[in-house]
Symmetry: C2
Subunit: 121 residues, 2 copies
């Protein structure tokens, strides 16, 4: 038994609030539908509830409703009730929501290289 100290204790790069910020980002994109919803709205522009249902294959009304509420609370999606007959609701990414596109694209790129690393090689 030489030393009791952990090999490294450089807390400067594990500052909790810095880790929290990254965790926030993950939390927002975690779950079965978030990524797909954001990318759908990213290229679909403003869409109605039922249009999103038809585009995102397999999602049910409950999850769609809940996920859209989550995104709205996080100011990533704007919900607008349209004065049409019958009443329709428009969902679209906010400018802040659009800033996610960049990071999602980075994830795409890393995901591709990861596939090559794990499968190919």
């Amino acid at each position: 038994m030489k030393k009791k100290e952990p090999i490294v204790l450089d807390r400067s790069c594990t500052k909790d609030d810095e880790l929290l910020a990254a965790k926030d980002t993950i939390a927002i994109l975690s779950g079965k539908w978030k990524l797909q919803l954001i990318t759908t709205l990213s290229c679909g522009g403003a869409m109605q509830f039922m249009d999103i249902m038809r585009t995102v294959d397999g999602i049910g009304t409950k999850m769609l409703s809940k996920e859209l509420q989550d995104l709205e609370i996080n100011l990533l999606v704007k919900r607008t009730v349209m004065e049409t007959r019958p009443v329709t609701v428009k969902y679209e990414l906010t400018p802040h929501g659009h800033t996610l596109e960049r990071i999602i694209n980075e994830m795409r790129i890393w995901g591709r290289t990861h596939r090559k690393e794990v499968l190919g090689k």
Copy 2:
């Protein structure tokens, strides 16, 4: 009832395999401990099982063992049994594991601006 078509059907930006690549990245970083483990190993270098336990506050042996196996299977972490007495095991990020640092840093940055957007403003 004017038209039956969804507002937008530009499938070119929803290509499934592109979405899958991003989902892979999220999957690898999802869960309660993955981010913390990777950042811990990122700045801690090679660490022993018990050192990681002491550094990552709150994690138990079962989760640590399982998460490290996950990371190893994904070629992000290298596990080395050391010929010491008693036998110790060294865990460290692979070069491929280190490529995650860039994207995690992007997540930190986005997370910070997100906090400002949601709280401050």
